[in-house]
Symmetry: D2
Subunit: 316 residues, 4 copies
């Protein structure tokens, strides 16, 4: 039997069917037999399903990009509460936006195109088509100091600091609180590059509280060393992607499952757009691992993936 | 009340909620209050809903890119059978792939990465992660000649030719057949740049059948002139986008509804990635029209949009 | 010797050096030893140099995207006058913009961001950051009719029509005129999808002049059949890329040299962003050919490439 | 005079001319009158020229992406030695790659496409089309410990640490050494997310040397507070872009000049692809500042820009 015959017998592409009130999971099942990014979306769900059901697998979630302004806070909390992941690595910006909402402020939709000069005059900041009034940052500042005063007054790793912070947050919809509740560590290696980091530094001027992400190295490496297998869902690349990958590079481990969702492209050589296949040369991803690079905005892809995973009633 | 206050009162971004077995339409409704491309996806559905329900609106569908290899044939047929659109403009490649499947051949999924040199030796052609054996083209050739012999032996516009062709196709899942059945014209201004066009030319060497897309101009202009209002769903840009837009430019009309789905970017100045807002300067799109540029692969976005539209049981 | 050793000995990356008043060609030579798109730019020049110097090679140029609004008219004319290419395939839009300038009109720079609604009111059309007043189209219309009346009043292929048109153009900077002067055929398979095509159709309403791109098929195939070897520089993808590729697919030939410049990406499966490697599976490109996909806006890449080629004083 | 007339009189687009052995600076001058990204490249040079000549302007350089593997080390050193910039913010990866070359190792070109599994077996890591053998990391490790032992054994900010490190580097082509020589501070807020950061942590296990980027906050803010005016050239986005921008956000300052070079797109809402215009709403960039978002791989754009700046013999 020739290669042609094998291909013909095994992997016929089926045209996607849709119907009245079909579920998200049914749509993903239809996409299983399609092409281009549709099949990559279905493959992402399949690989994550295997990852979640692998009881010996330590599951990392990398969160870069403005996910809370994009509306993904609830979807991420759902992943945490369902223990679809074990460890989070994120940017300081995601923590900052989570806290702004935890303290009662909101992001807004730009329903009509507004000029950035006008926004500046109105003290409203733009994130693509989402708006965040300065008031959000004022509320953040007013709430952080009292919270900081209740935290251990010592030098902490970002992981330790975020865990302690989570204990002081009341909003059940907060990523930070949910992670603390569920005992899922959050690492933030670039915390000093964020408004949260700025306020930590301000507070540290006359208090002993200090955060140093170099101290996270041991905990992160221990997690990797202790893992039998590992996997990662990486959203948006950046520091979170690099930090998870570097942890594999500096230990004898490699990711056995890996799914990446990004709109960045590989052509300029940056880590965010780099293909996961490339990570195999580094032993960041295991050579035999099946990987998916899904090229799609996470605000579309992530809710579909997590809604589909929820429908599977996975035992993990 | 300041701009800040107005924004705060009217357009609070709500974090997307997901749940067990939620429907595609429920997901789109959740995205209505989100940011980035998620809200653009929801806005696309909203504008298309308005367009479909506008009884005085002539609705154009532009189809560029390898949509049948991507698995979108059934979704497009669904749009035709439900009369979500009135006029199609497409590339010759889409017609060619539709006919290959109509004549019983298939596209295949590249489940394992194969080298292009190997594919060449196995006579299998690659379209990104989709495969199409040469056999598909052989079957096409074998079936086209008998069909051509039953068509009017004269010079036709692409629209007239495709309509006549549709009458000879038996496959109910064919875009060409569905369009003929539903009396929806298909225009293909670049038909000579396709394997279908190549076979037309071959056949024309000793027959009187000939296709000349210049002859389409009148019919396309008449449709525009006769429309009270007009709208377009444009997938992938290219000739179909330009042809619909040019029809507006050369008549006193302008699109009142416009949604574009593409992964192309505007920075190199090409028509495929150009923003719809720009089309307002040309009067291709009406100045007051609300438009959406959805940046997403159509194999993900289109099934979601059409599944959501189906769930609305629109009266058009 | 291990693979590592071979790599180390043979292909050390050298950091790019720059200096006061270095030439474009010197910069390209420096890029020869760099990474990412810089080395791809240098590789493009190298492959095109080989192609131009190969006396048995038929050299195709595919032109898609708004190259004249981008400022590339002179660079393309330079390629024609130097016989860096033998055959051009282009879009109707490129011909239209070439004629608008040939008849004395201009494109303009958008030096200050202007709203599209304002542009519409001022009868100015936007192409990304370039402006084209409607007056350009009025001048085109006024000049085309007298020119059309001097052309053969019969049905012609696009190639024949464009050649005849070139004989009536006086502007030495015109791509159409330069190609006619140098006896380089221009094919335009999608000519009916352009304002030029629209005016052809208008004129044909009461004259015998008619253009039918199906008639181009024979000439294009003959060129391929007669070629010993072939090569292509493909800018922007679209119909020109597909038409050149399809000509290889439908003859026993395949491109021996191929360079592609585009900002489109492969992920949505469309032809414009598809990698040239993929074209090997189709035998559009020869399996053994070295190809380059340069990801860069052509308005930056093309002048560099052609300026570098000019500095080599190639004998072709 | 109407808007049309004003546009016509003032900003005629001129087609780019090229000639034998033209210089890079002449090419940039030609691009001044072109469209799309070509004019953006020329505008970048113009804005940076103004910035460099503004004696009261503090000039930031943001470096993200794998610039040394791309071949940009010499170009960046040229900027430092010429004092085109005053302050650098970079990623740990750029420092790591600079040190690997400083200690005598090299990056390599992937001249022939190699499978990532094979690379893994050969202990060679891929960065897009560039290769880096593991040996580079071994040499780094062997050289770092002796260097670390000569540095102050205390907790330092990243800026202080990198400055001290620069004093121990002998390679004149090193970015770190050049910056120390020229007294240009380098900040690295995400240093713990890098192999350099990993080795710092390893060393800190039994030494008192420690790096904490939270301690950089004061120095960075002081620089901003002390600046009369400020400007930035931002390459690749990421943490460096955000950190420079955040410094403006948290002080009464705003960038008066800003040029961004990236291939990332804005549609997914992340900071790397966000347009600079958007930064005006945040007061990260001054409302009246002219900004350019150049969409081009930095390995092409940066050498052109810096070669052009060199040719201007700027007095700063």
């Amino acid at each position: 039997m020739t290669l042609v015959d094998k291909v013909i017998q095994l992997n016929v592409l089926k045209q996607v069917k849709i119907w009245f009130d079909m579920t998200v999971n049914e749509l993903v099942e239809e996409m299983t037999y399609a092409g281009f990014q549709a099949v990559k979306l279905a493959d992402s769900v399949r690989i994550l399903t295997d990852m979640i059901q692998d009881k010996k697998c330590t599951k990392f979630l990398g969160l870069a990009g403005a996910l809370i302004p994009g509306g993904m806070r609830g979807v991420i909390v759902e992943m945490i509460r369902n223990h679809f992941i074990d460890v989070i690595v994120t940017t300081g910006a995601n923590l900052t936006h989570d806290l702004i909402e935890a303290f009662g402020e909101h992001h807004y939709q730009e329903k009509k195109i507004v000029n950035d000069a006008q926004l500046y005059k109105s003290k409203i900041n733009r994130i693509y088509n989402v708006l965040l009034p300065n008031k959000g940052y004022v509320t953040l500042e007013n709430n952080l100091e009292p919270v900081f005063s209740k935290l251990p007054q010592k030098e902490m790793s970002s992981k330790e600091f975020i865990f302690e912070l989570g204990n002081k947050i009341e909003d059940e919809n907060s990523i930070i609180k949910a992670a603390t509740d569920e005992n899922i560590p959050i690492f933030c290696p670039s915390i000093s590059d964020s408004i949260l980091g700025f306020h930590i530094w301000m507070y540290s001027q006359d208090h002993n509280l200090m955060v140093n992400p170099t101290l996270d190295q041991k905990d992160m490496l221990d997690i990797a060393f202790d893992s039998k297998r590992s996997g990662a869902l990486i959203i948006g690349g950046g520091v979170p992607k690099h930090y998870i990958a570097m942890t594999m590079q500096t230990t004898p481990k490699a990711l056995d499952y890996a799914v990446q969702i990004t709109m960045d492209r590989p052509e300029a050589g940056g880590v965010s757009g780099a293909k996961l296949e490339e990570a195999k040369s580094w032993k960041k991803v295991a050579v035999e691992a099946e990987v998916v690079d899904l090229v799609c905005d996470a605000t579309i892809a992530l809710p579909i993936i997590v809604a589909s995973l929820l429908s599977k009633k996975l035992q993990n």
